[in-house]
């Protein structure tokens, strides 16, 4: 089968090609339809990919018939096949959501071009999650950065501060990407190859090599910027809070997750043989940084009055949970990190979607003041918002509970009481900011009678699809948890 054999290439090529086609269409409805069809095709292909990978274990796709050490290869194994499915699933739902939301937030004549950039972002996310070539990753990293900066800057129609947020992301992102390239240069000087699988072999032959270690340090620093890991996260809150709501729900759900996946792959997959250094990095760098991220993000969110910025700050805390799970350096830690990547993508995507619908309903930015009493006026959106919010805390029967369960399991395995306390206290703190929003929206009276616009039905559907996914993954957790365990097997081996 021509299509089935070339799925890894097509997952990138189809959105890329369609983006070029969509950019010359003048009708925004047709542009949206093309975007939706593209993402649906990608979802189908990602689903087919699971069957192929479960049969073959590891799928290495060589571009243009150039075999891997020389040509560029895409690698799909059980560590990233679920990430690809997640990206395609979220992109379908976010595209449905964009139909009504994007049209009301940006100028109509910009819409077709916005969908073109939207597809470019999705193509680059697929590329990032599949590529097996260190330099190729940089190219996708930059495509993803430039296209998401363009999408963030589109928020300027509503709030001019989006431009500064986009500019800051551009500068910080470019420095991060350049750091990554420096690292790849060192690694290439040391090993003479760019293929990730080949780098592992060469590093085994070389043993501890100064240039390779320097390269690793630069690469990790660069990826940390893209992943929004704590000390280099500063672009994230402003970028997500001023972007159009469809864009923030897509980016917050999957853009950082893809970078975190590659971060884990670098640590556990590529450099695992420089054990001493990796152990040092995980224990003395990543763990303190993650704990700080968890508390900084949560406490900053408690004092935040702008709802979108609040959830962006909470994203930093949640990314902190994921990297904390990785820093435990155990099989259960990595698997709980992967499980949280999947669940948090669903939860945060749903939350940003709900906030976008609220903001559209009241016709201004969603803040603690403007949202007073809105919950009673928009009950269907509010119900979805509450379920997603409870999932963020980790209440049973939601996907968030499964994440917390596996995280606690991983933490209990270490036998360190302090870690248990960190997770428990920070979860309790996250109740505070969510309760604050629930209280304002449901229990408090608005200062002025609210004039609610009719709630957009299409946006409902996408929000509730996400919420249903959250509930389903909370009750039937086997799928997500076994994918997490399979991913951990592929990343750090069944140790």
């Amino acid at each position: 089968m021509l299509i089935l054999d070339n799925i890894p290439a097509l997952l990138v090529a189809i959105p890329l090609l369609m983006s070029a086609i969509v950019s010359v269409i003048s009708s925004d409805r047709i542009a949206w339809l093309f975007a939706l069809l593209t993402t649906l095709v990608c979802l189908f292909m990602a689903y087919e990919l699971i069957d192929i990978v479960s049969a073959k274990q590891i799928l290495s796709y060589a571009f243009g018939g150039w075999e891997p050490p020389w040509g560029i290869a895409f690698i799909v194994d059980s560590a990233n096949v679920y990430l690809i499915l997640l990206v395609s699933f979220i992109s379908v739902i976010a595209t449905i959501y964009a139909h009504t939301m994007l049209a009301r937030e940006i100028a109509v004549e910009d819409l077709p071009k916005a969908y073109a950039v939207w597809l470019l972002t999705i193509a680059s996310l697929f590329g990032l999650s599949m590529t097996g070539d260190a330099f190729n990753l940089f190219v996708f990293l930059e495509i993803s950065a430039l296209s998401s900066i363009t999408l963030i800057a589109l928020g300027a129609g509503q709030d001019r501060r989006a431009l500064i947020a986009a500019y800051n992301y551009l500068i910080i992102g470019a420095i991060g990407a350049t750091f990554y390239v420096i690292g790849v240069g060192y690694l290439y000087a040391a090993t003479g190859t760019l293929n990730l699988l080949n780098i592992i072999e060469r590093l085994n032959e070389l043993g501890t090599n100064q240039a390779a270690i320097t390269g690793l340090a630069f690469m990790l620093a660069g990826i940390m910027v893209k992943a929004g890991i704590f000390p280099v996260h500063i672009w994230l809150p402003a970028a997500y809070s001023y972007a159009p709501s469809a864009v923030s729900s897509l980016l917050s759900a999957v853009a950082t997750k893809v970078a975190i996946y590659y971060f884990a792959r670098l640590i556990f997959g590529i450099f695992m043989n420089i054990t001493q250094l990796i152990d040092f990095f995980l224990l003395y760098v990543l763990m303190p940084v993650s704990v700080t991220a968890i508390f900084y993000g949560t406490i900053a969110a408690i004092y935040q009055t702008d709802i979108k910025r609040l959830f962006a700050l909470s994203s930093i805390a949640q990314i902190g949970y994921i990297t904390f799970a990785f820093s435990l350096n155990s099989h259960s830690g990595v698997s709980s990190g992967v499980i949280h990547i999947i669940n948090h993508a669903l939860i945060k995507g749903a939350l940003f979607m709900a906030v976008g619908i609220f903001a559209l309903g009241i016709g201004k930015r969603a803040t603690m003041v403007s949202l007073r009493g809105v919950g009673r006026q928009m009950p269907i959106t509010f119900a979805g918002f509450v379920i997603a919010g409870l999932a963020l805390i980790g209440v049973p029967l939601t996907a968030g509970f499964i994440s917390k369960l596996y995280l606690f399991k991983a933490v209990f395995e270490t036998g360190n009481g302090l870690f248990v306390a960190i997770i428990a206290i920070s979860s309790a703190l996250s109740v505070l900011y969510l309760w604050k929003i629930f209280e304002v929206m449901w229990l408090q009276e608005p200062y002025q009678p609210l004039k609610i616009e009719k709630e957009p039905a299409v946006a409902y559907i996408s929000l509730w699809l996400m919420v249903i996914a959250i509930i389903v993954f909370g009750i039937y957790s086997n799928g997500v948890s076994s994918s997490g365990i399979l991913a951990a097997n592929a990343l750090i081996g069944a140790r």
């Binding site: 940089f138 430039l146 800057a153 500068i171 470019a174 390239v181 290439y188 803040t367």
Partner: protein, 134 residues
């Protein structure tokens, strides 16, 4: 003597480090958004020189088949990579400059300090608008 020899024989790497630090310093310290982009360009260019330096094989010629046996060629791959990276750098700069134009239209300034005060003003305005409903 050894140190001088080391510096002189690796002068291109010294240049890389100097350019890199100069570029990064400009990006961090400068208030003007266009000057920041210039700093970013310098920073990225230093990486280009770094890549081209590691591609050089001592005694190697340009990697074009000469037909003579036992010719030592320099490594062409870093050059190819840098060609890609230059294109990426151009795209980054173009987008950055486009954003600066839009920022200038929206705020009438591209100085970080002025923009910060505009941003604070916007936030206060938003807050007061919400609060005045009482």
């Amino acid at each position: 003597m050894n140190v001088i020899y080391l510096i002189l024989s690796n002068w291109n790497f010294i240049a890389v480090i100097m350019l890199m630090m100069a570029g990064l310093y400009i990006v961090i310290s400068n208030q003007n958004f266009i000057k920041k982009l210039v700093g970013l360009s310098i920073f990225q260019s230093s990486v280009f020189i770094f890549y081209i330096s590691i591609g050089k094989v001592s005694g190697g010629t340009a990697p074009i088949l000469t037909g003579i046996a036992d010719t030592i060629y320099s490594n062409p791959l870093p050059h190819v990579l840098i060609l890609t990276a230059i294109v990426v750098g151009v795209a980054t700069n173009a987008l950055g400059l486009a954003l600066v134009v839009r920022i200038n239209e929206a705020f009438n300034s591209i100085e970080e300090k002025t923009l910060l005060s505009h941003k604070i003003e916007d936030s206060r305005h938003e807050f007061e608008k919400g609060d005045s409903w009482k």
